[in-house]
């Protein structure tokens, strides 16, 4: 049974990591804890549901939902935050604005489509799991693990080795210095918003498929876990988010399997508290290197 627990842990952990990748990138580049991020997750799931109910195959519904969620993110970011950014408002202001907006958006979505659980049409994706050594894993679960791994690798590659990645790292620390070097920081911000919205949307689709249950507030539950993951991994650290996600997923699965599922949701936060106590900048975080 251990093998199955580990598989469950890796799948759950990859799901957390997948969601957290865009969350941590938003923070890392835009320097904002953007709570609307959870909404893009719910929106992605509903957009894919809408597309599949109208006959689209999942191979079409997934990119459609991701792209649409990306545009929603760009729109909401510029509507809610660009003004605050221009005036260099304190971080708490943007936190409160995105919190208020998120509550409003969830409420609006619930009013529009109801709060009951909805499901993807049957037969949308091969549901018979692969079996080996008494353990099993489904196609959706494999997709979640692969997407999380490839996306994390891709993002790290972009940040480290491309011109846009260089610009993202520079403006993350000092947007004005970035502008002076010729970086159109507004344009890069829009690209990052789009990318993060699309990641949230795609993870909403995949995790909605995996749980086969879609509700307006699914993003809120996920955001709480995502928060733990990105703080544990170090805010803005893409590789850290992947490892922290897997760690929390595995810990939860093993707790549920060998201790009691009652403690499952608490154990990730226990890890977070203990880690922060020992390492205030997260598992891999270093103290600030800036010198006067």
């Amino acid at each position: 049974m251990l093998l199955q627990q580990i598989i469950n842990g890796i799948v759950a952990g990859s799901a957390y990591a997948l969601f957290a990748l865009g969350f941590t990138l938003t923070f890392g580049v835009l320097k904002i804890v953007n709570l609307t991020y959870g909404f893009y997750f719910s929106a992605g799931a509903y957009l894919a549901l809408f597309a599949t109910l109208h006959g689209a195959p999942i191979t079409l519904a997934l990119p459609f939902a991701a792209i649409a969620a990306g545009f929603i993110a760009v729109f909401l970011d510029s509507a809610l935050l660009s003004r605050l950014r221009r005036q260099q408002a304190p971080e708490l202001a943007s936190l409160m604005v995105t919190l208020g907006a998120t509550l409003f958006l969830y409420t609006g979505m619930t009013a529009l489509i109801g709060s009951e659980i909805q499901r993807f049409p049957l037969g949308l994706i091969e549901s018979a799991p692969f079996r080996f050594n008494g353990a099993s894993i489904s196609l959706t679960q494999i997709a979640i693990v692969m997407t999380a791994g490839l996306l994390a690798a891709g993002l790290i590659g972009v940040l480290r080795a491309t011109r846009t990645g260089l610009a993202m790292r520079a403006m993350a620390e000092n947007p004005q210095a970035g502008e002076l070097m010729g970086i159109d920081t507004g344009a890069i911000m829009r690209r990052v918003s789009f990318l993060c919205g699309a990641i949230a949307g795609a993870s909403g689709v995949l995790i909605g498929l995996e749980h086969n249950a879609i509700t307006p507030y699914m993003g809120e539950t996920m955001a709480l876990k995502g928060f733990a993951v990105i703080i544990l991994g170090g805010l803005g650290d893409v590789g850290g988010a992947l490892i922290a996600g897997l760690l929390i997923g595995l810990l939860e699965a093993l707790t549920a399997g060998y201790i009691s599922s009652i403690y499952k949701d608490a154990v990730g936060f226990l890890l977070l508290v203990l880690t922060l106590w020992a390492r205030p900048f997260g598992l891999f975080g270093r103290a600030s290197v800036r010198r006067a």
């Binding site: 260089l166 790292r169 502008e179 002076l180 970086i183």
Partner: protein, 238 residues
């Protein structure tokens, strides 16, 4: 094309409802160094930030090579050939020295051009060469200042704005920075320099402006200002 590379007219800038720069006219000629000197809080940094697009003008015009650039975004002004090494260095502390230099050449047309500029910058600042992989935030203050200038040079600018390149440096390092500026001048670079070190700045510059409380108090060829009684009393320690 005219001989004037940068020309500001009626430059007026403020923060909130307070104007701190009023009706400033200044010009920088091609191949020359112009310098701004003045007491702390006179408005020198504010003038540079307005010229490079970091601050909006309340009034006035700025022409770079004859083209009006007032109130264009800073990145667009950078794309027209102005590089600004801001006050306080503003290097990217979390990135390596090499990445800071690469970022300075963000608008360079090709990889070959970036490495050409990098070789030139490192030849000018050999200390940075040994520290390429080091995190920029861990450089000494003087090295950070060199990196800030080198990064601005990576843009291969037609006009370079330098805000107190000698700030906080030991006398020997100040001398080194000024000798590098002198070399850049002899190579024909056009520079607008802000300096507290008024003696050295006036000895180096062609044209000088004395800023007082946000206005131009005196202007003229730098050598004339060295001998000017008011300037020497206020800024040259005698």
């Amino acid at each position: 094309m005219t001989d004037i590379m940068l020309e500001a007219r009626g430059l007026t800038v403020g923060y909130g409802d307070k104007l701190v720069v009023r009706n400033v006219d200044l010009a920088v000629r091609r191949g020359e160094i112009a310098c701004l000197i003045g007491a702390n809080g006179a408005g020198k940094t504010t003038i540079l930030r307005a010229l490079s697009g970091l601050l909006k003008l309340r009034a006035g015009s700025v022409r770079l090579n004859g083209e009006e650039i007032a109130n264009r975004p800073a990145h667009a002004i950078a794309a027209r050939g102005m590089a600004h090494a801001p006050e306080g260095r503003q290097i990217i502390a979390a990135m390596s020295v090499a990445d800071n230099l690469r970022a300075g050449a963000y608008l360079a047309p090709s990889a070959a051009e970036i490495s050409r500029r990098r070789d030139a910058a490192l030849a000018r600042f050999p200390r940075l060469k040994e520290r390429l992989t080091q995190q920029a935030g861990l450089l000494s203050g003087g090295e950070q200042q060199m990196l800030a200038i080198a990064r601005a040079l990576m843009a291969d600018p037609t006009l370079l704005l330098l805000d107190e390149p000698s700030m906080g440096l030991a006398p020997l390092m100040v001398e080194e920075i000024f000798s590098i500026l002198a070399t850049m001048k002899s190579e024909g670079r056009t520079i607008l320099l802000v300096e507290q070190n008024a003696n050295a700045a006036l000895a180096l510059a062609d044209q000088a402006y004395v800023i007082e409380a946000g206005r131009i108090k005196l202007e003229g060829p730098a050598r004339d200002l060295i001998d000017h009684d008011g300037v020497s009393a206020a800024y040259l320690g005698g």
